[in-house]
Symmetry: C2
Subunit: 363 residues, 2 copies
């Protein structure tokens, strides 16, 4: 079966590009002495997670407890939940997982630590905890080295928890690599002050977990970082290409769609909309919702739920009803999450179906 025989819309995964992306990141981490713990939110597929481990990753990262359960059931034995666990029922499930897996959780509050400690104590298991620090993204993370130390001390005092170190997410650094230097220096100033405070208190930090796809290949410049958690690097997408993370040929995912209408002048409608791609926007200054490989002049200007609205007024030839196009989505993680299965191909020949195993595991 070739991809042109698939009904649409269909998410296509170029397995050759995926293999190259996985190998490139594994090699970089090996050469720099960094542990690689890929975030599986991007693909949510246990087989790709295992491929990443086989290539050298020390384990995986997930956001939700339900994702950890899916990956553990598939045989993955080292999982970091990079998300504060703040409900008792999730804490109980995490404590259960710790019976058979090495489990770590990041958090930034005593309330979350206490919630986890109660469950681990009851289950008689131990959960590794990383204190999340805010390095400028302004999402989660304690604000100062002093607060970080206080939380670490509290974690060390709580039954069932093991303080493993620090975690951060430099989500604000979404620039081309050559423009990242001042932002990395700012993160390093904050990291150094943390290390100093912990050293003064005599508390060891075994892990410093950082990284993201935009900063991944500069991770060795983040002082003291021992592991990184990039996710999108496996697939890449329109937003990542726009900031220079890889070349177009490195982008492993496209969405195959069919033109279903071109009755409105200057427009062509394709059979994928926000329920196929997600409504995730483009990183400024980019606009629009995707890049059409077969018609780069066509602008994907908007979505209805099941229609992609192409402005084809700039095209030499208007796409015809029934014609197939491949579109690179703005944000591949959001796109993958809308599909139950996607198709892995090499050079257009379908090799295997990939199930999005952890799709919808929101709890």
């Amino acid at each position: 079966v070739t991809v042109q025989e698939l009904d649409t819309p269909a998410v296509l995964v170029d397995l050759d590009a995926l293999d190259r992306n996985i190998d490139r990141m594994a090699r970089y981490c090996r050469e720099r002495g960094l542990q690689l713990r890929p975030h599986t939110k991007t693909h949510k597929n246990a087989g790709i997670a295992q491929q990443q481990i086989d290539a050298g990753a020390c384990g995986i990262t997930v956001a939700k407890t339900g994702e950890a359960e899916v990956m553990a059931a598939a045989g993955i034995g080292d999982i970091m939940i990079a998300y504060p666990i703040a409900t008792p029922s999730k804490a109980e499930r995490v404590a259960e997982l710790a019976r058979s897996c090495r489990i770590r959780v990041s958090l930034d509050s005593e309330a979350a630590a206490e919630c986890l400690s109660i469950a681990a104590s009851k289950a008689g298991t131990e959960i590794g905890v990383l204190v999340e620090i805010d390095v400028g993204f302004g999402r989660c993370g304690v604000a100062s080295p002093g607060e970080s130390l206080a939380l670490a001390r509290r974690i060390r005092a709580l039954q069932g928890l093991r303080f493993d170190g620090l975690m951060f997410y430099p989500g604000q650094i979404r620039k081309p690599s050559n423009e990242q230097t001042p932002m990395i220096e700012e993160v390093n100033r904050l990291l150094r002050s943390h290390y100093q405070v912990f050293a003064d208190a005599g508390i060891g930090i075994s892990t410093v977990s950082g990284g993201s796809t935009p900063t991944a290949f500069r991770s060795h410049e983040f002082e003291g970082v021992t592991e990184i958690r990039p996710g999108m690097y496996a697939f890449l997408d329109r937003n990542m290409l726009s900031i220079g993370v890889g070349e177009p040929a490195d982008c492993a995912v496209s969405v195959l769609v069919t033109v279903v209408s071109n009755a409105v002048s200057g427009r062509a409608m394709v059979d994928g909309g926000s329920k196929t791609f997600s409504s995730d926007s483009a990183l400024a200054p980019l606009t629009g919702f995707g890049s059409v490989l077969e018609a780069p002049e066509a602008e994907l200007m908007g979505f209805s739920e099941e229609h992609g609205h192409l402005d084809v007024s700039g095209c030499a030839r208007s796409p015809q009803v029934g014609e197939r196009l491949r579109i690179i989505p703005n944000h591949v993680c959001a796109t993958m999450n809308l599909h139950d299965r996607v198709w892995g191909h090499r050079g257009g020949v379908v090799e295997r179906e990939l199930t999005v195993d952890a799709r919808g595991k929101l709890r």
Copy 2:
């Protein structure tokens, strides 16, 4: 079980509000002599579809063939696919469905009509076809009465197809009801010219299918309309409330979330992000991504995939980690589509789980 005992994030459906919304629209259509064919894209649940039919709807509307299959398997016998079928494999599935269901499809091209005709001829079934006309939304639909007539003639000549009339979607009318008059008049001018051209040609139009939730209660003012296809009216959402479609108490859906972090000053993070709510934006001039029922001053300023970013700097009291909040989503259809199951409750007591049966049926 009360909703406060559910783990989060969890979509809550207020069944009392749902019942009222379904009854109100059914009553309006009965009083005005309009057929009601609710679009099930909003809830994607076969039980709610059946409830709409039991209340008086003549059948249902879907966008995708896979949605039609799910609803037909659940026993729904009259389905309109308000979407051009433009791939042979979908046409074959539609032709199969026509063995056991009354099936109609809307389209705007000869290519789509021919694709459907080939499949219906092969299966020996008959498919009803409505010609979609563009009344100003600029998505699908032929542009002029002349083109509409030409396509209707082609449909009448094709084996396996039955020309049933005209279909339109007034998606551009997203204003409060009292501001819709000039736009409705413009649609009526176009509808009248279609009726004239078809009458002159001696071709009968048995169905004129229109309607949307924002225009639903003015559907009797659209000349010649025989049926309407509103979807969101069953649930409503933040965008619909913002243009005055119903009162806050009519909004049947909220998303229960838990605060997982408030470490960053002026912020609180909740455990639902774009993978729980969708990234669908607010209708201007509204901004933000949802309304927090328990803290109206909190602004849901953005999403990560699994984090909702609340700006709580305007709140008298910062929400604490572990605290639960209910949030009205911008666009309920996109939110529902991200969940496998949701919880129906009355007054906060969970009555039943509702499966999102047609979720992910993109083909």
